[in-house]
Symmetry: C2
Amino acid sequence: MKTAGVVVEYNPFHNGHLYHLEETKKATGADIVVAVMSGSFLQRGEPALVDKWSRTSMALQNGVDIVIELPYVYSTQKAEIFAKGAVSLLSEMGVDELCFGSEAGRIEDFRKTMAFIKENEKRYNDQIQLYMNEGNSYPKSASLAFQSLQDHEDVLDLSLPNNILGYQYVKAIDELRSPMEAQTILRTKAGYHDEDFQDKKIASATAIRKKLVNDEPKSVKSYVPDPTFNELKHFYQSHSTFHGWHRLYPLLQYKLVTSSQSELKAIYEAEEGLENRLVSAAKHSNDFLTFMEAIKTKRYTWTRLQRFALHILTNTRKDEMRPALEGSEAPYLRLLGMSSGGRKYLNKIKSSLTVPLVANVNQFDHPFLSIEKRVSEVYALGFEGEAKEEFLKKEYQTSPIIL
Amino acid sequence: MKTAGVVVEYNPFHNGHLYHLEETKKATGADIVVAVMSGSFLQRGEPALVDKWSRTSMALQNGVDIVIELPYVYSTQKAEIFAKGAVSLLSEMGVDELCFGSEAGRIEDFRKTMAFIKENEKRYNDQIQLYMNEGNSYPKSASLAFQSLQDHEDVLDLSLPNNILGYQYVKAIDELRSPMEAQTILRTKAGYHDEDFQDKKIASATAIRKKLVNDEPKSVKSYVPDPTFNELKHFYQSHSTFHGWHRLYPLLQYKLVTSSQSELKAIYEAEEGLENRLVSAAKHSNDFLTFMEAIKTKRYTWTRLQRFALHILTNTRKDEMRPALEGSEAPYLRLLGMSSGGRKYLNKIKSSLTVPLVANVNQFDHPFLSIEKRVSEVYALGFEGEAKEEFLKKEYQTSPIIL
């Protein structure tokens, strides 16, 4: 049995994801695909459009065999830590080959880049610092530093988001000394950040989400597989809206106006008095977009600011995040769902797992899982009445989804 | 110029308050009435039905000359601290005679009781502890202890809420060595806690608030003076609802599910793990009443629990409250409003004030005023859109209301 691994958000699962999944199976010849999927909150510092259970169901119906939750402590981080967390989980699951989409599309480029940066580490870091001192954000500085150091023409463009992530996967595999192989698939058509519909079948998740903010599920029908469309329809019927920052902003605003300076300073990603900027913006902004516009600067990317806002909202402190930054082992494997093939695979590898496989969060304790429960409570507050109960019931009582 | 002082919430100002105000003027022969009035949050641990500006306006239109804000650090406390704060402000304002309503109605009873308790302090405190050990709340234990110790028939019934408050006023005047006299007026008809309308013109504030939860202002027209009715109508027109815990419960719920144990333990009035009881109730209660029903016990009064919930909501910590418990001097005098008579009086006494008279909160700093601003931000979150802006504008920019 050969196993491929993918790292996903599926927010929501669309035709581009289906293409990547099918190409992954072709390229690796895998019988089983394991997806490590972000839970309630995503890398850009946003709540997921639809809950993890609905997204797990989309994944399974579209051909994924096992869905493992990427804990909040990894899912809401910059690429390096995000990748380390995801790779540690896939590696623990005994995955043979990690397969990611990238703008570059050739795995050799990633290996060469890693070797080059390793050799030039000090120069590279100094250069990043220089660009940051000029007021650039970290991702921009890293990309500029890399460009300024290398003189190969065929080397990786590290200003592109999927190349960055891919590079970090390859690096994490190396650092964790995982026996897992890496493989990449050329991303086609819709770029990660494209907000327009340029194609009749493929659109980015960003574009799809943007559409769903103002429109009903049928507006995106042609860009998503049927199981996604059905899940979106079901979700919309019971909630009358999709999840998003607009559902949680009043809570963030409340948190900002009531917290003491020392409480805010203790929040993960607080630095350079950035928290004061957020407090004063919260007092004068009645919606999330106005708030974000009020705090944005050249110094920090939108994503970085959104993640900080999220950690404030979920009350996630620096001391709680430290183990995720320092450790490199998978903490546990939380199973969100599996196909019959996935179940067979799990039965086979169960005895060789070195960390607990968690099917019910009430039956296991871990500091990361406590954070997960807390952030799920916050996510749930974006729902109303019965929809909230239903989500929390799935979260605490339901066994993994079995297809 | 003779000055009388009253301590009020005016939530809202009703015919019973008008009666008390007129009797106060008769009994004291005062030219000027100074009211110390609670701001956004009240002694029972609740947000005020209508904001302090509207209530100040009611007070002035009904014959009060000067309205001074009772800071949150006093207004949301048990009788002893509440009274100490209020008395210190009235005393600083140079009030000649404090006049309060009571079930007893004779000032000698209060003096005798104070003397009796002073003489028997140790026995009294031991007896309170005994009743508390049996699982009774503090107010009930104090009342039982007092009954068990005294054998006079004409002594004060300390199980009645206005007698308790009055006793604490008399005691505070004594302890602060204030030259202020005390005077009491027999409360008639509607008891403080009566929830029904037993009279055609007089109803308790509790009964009036209860009516306004489900009904429009006209339902209470006959129980309030015209200026109150007009203020209520105006408020209802711009907010479509009155303020109350129902407007703030989602924020309390969020706060409880996201705070760490040590954060909650640091909140004022946290004791004996009570906070854990609130956390677990918050997870399962979708409205404030359900939440309160879930946490109530014989050990704590409803008011005590509601105040604790309020301090959690406003993130008011033990270390912030300590100065209010230990100090006995007025911190500052925040002027909410005045009549022309009130203005003359203020001009006369201005130079002899020993603490700042604050007309605009932006022009003065004090730890109690920082708490006041924070709790006002929370109070404001119970309003929507323009109503919120309007309230905060009054809070930060408008000068006191001048009649």
